[in-house]
Subunit: 231 residues, 2 copies
DNA sequence: GTCAATCATCATGTATACATAATGCCGATT
DNA sequence: AATCGGCATTATGTATACATGATGATTGAC
């Protein structure tokens, strides 16, 4: 029987956990690209460890959906087609909408202040046409809304799914008008949350995420068509 | 590079996968109860394998949220408190509501027929006051709605979360009136889906799942209070 | 020259051996 | 008597050795 309550115990991290973080980062940033093979021996040599912790890391990434393990065949960075990407964004939209609805009902004054700061950060980045900056501030904005939902489990789920989708961010179109449109959508969301209008907040957020997903999926589809033609 | 399309390849299952299934079943059915310790050596001996595939199984269960691994300390069947259980049911409600909404829009005639059959199964079980039977038919009903959403990713997420919650089903109250109330809620859901009213279907489903979650959480809270008192 | 079957190669799956940190016992000290 | 600290124990973390199935290259038949 394990004691019911365990506060902040500083726990030694396993090698596998650190390796997972490194590999995850490389997948999310595109150093490792969808379809790439991950060979255990090669990774073991690269990191100077045995295969055992490597396998642990791979299992964790596989469970997170970032890689795909095919027994006896090897493991590969997950490839997501347009159809599935759309499905994932549909769910993401819903989770984010739920966060926004709950945030509208439960956000504390501190939550609202943090949210407003993040929004201002987006504004500044949009103003100067700073795409990378906007991307960064945008993540904070969404994160603050999630936190304001005051549902820890929901936050975990949303974060996990966002990670899976993040690997496809490099498909993002860098259109100036999209930057402004995104910001205006944020504006509608934050206004609804501050007004305590849960339904409006949810709807605004759903639309905001969905349009982003559609753009990704369209672009991905066109890329795949091009590849198919050239192959 | 992995081939883009891989049809039905019969793949050999790993031992770890089979072990995961066995342990999962034992957790979901309550043979292994929240807080129970899982010792690798002991499990290895029990199943007649080495620790390696046992560890694989544990990693998978850990990722699924069914167990908790604390480095150097051991692994335990996950314990979920009332607060977190409520959070999880809130998310479950939302996912199921989303399934219902999508089902109302996209269900094929075959989907609707299967759904109706499942509903009739529930009716029969409720009629004869068969709690176990209703539980079984109820699962099919929900599963059919999920399938009718035609969003494979959503179905996966909903299934995964349902598994995590399933471990708490033994808390279910066996009240006859709850059986009838549940059935009537189902009736509202299926009516809205058949009518193609997405919003109504979603709302009906949300309420249906939420009320169930509240009952679980209340019961769990009362159990924990009792334990705390006796300790 | 093409195709298919056989076999060598190698990455993955599994077992075992070794390393190390957490746990609990026991005795010494206050 | 109670508490602290050291030591033995043991389960987990890691490395290595062995087993096995997938891959593809070679060879032979047509």
């Amino acid at each position: 029987m394990v004691p019911a309550g365990f506060a902040e115990e500083r726990v030694m991290e396993k090698r596998g956990d650190r390796l997972r973080d490194v590999l995850e980062e490389e997948i999310l940033t595109g150093v490792l690209r969808p379809g790439d093979r991950l060979e255990e021996l090669q990774l073991a040599e690269r990191f100077g460890v045995s295969r055992t912790p490597i396998r642990e890391a791979l299992f964790q990434l596989s469970a997170a959906g970032l890689i795909e393990q095919r027994p006896r065949r090897g493991t590969f960075v997950a490839e997501v087609g347009p159809k599935r990407l759309m499905e994932m964004f549909d769910v993401m939209s819903e989770l984010e909408a739920m966060c926004a609805r709950l945030a509208a009902r439960r956000a504390t004054p501190e939550d609202l202040a943090a949210l407003r700061r993040a929004h201002d950060g987006c504004a500044a980045a949009a103003e100067r046409g700073d795409f990378d900056g906007y991307y960064y501030e945008n993540e904070i904005f969404h994160e603050k809304i999630r936190e304001a939902s005051r549902n820890g489990f929901l936050v975990e789920q949303a974060d996990a799914l966002q990670k899976r989708l993040k690997a496809y961010r490099r498909l993002q179109l860098r259109a100036r008008d999209r930057l402004r449109a995104s910001f205006e959508e944020h504006d509608a969301v934050i206004a609804a949350i501050e007004a305590g209008d849960a339904e409006a907040a949810g709807e605004a957020m759903r639309g905001h995420v969905t349009v982003q997903g559609e753009r990704f999926a369209d672009l991905l589809a066109s890329l795949e068509r091009r590849e198919a033609k050239s192959a």
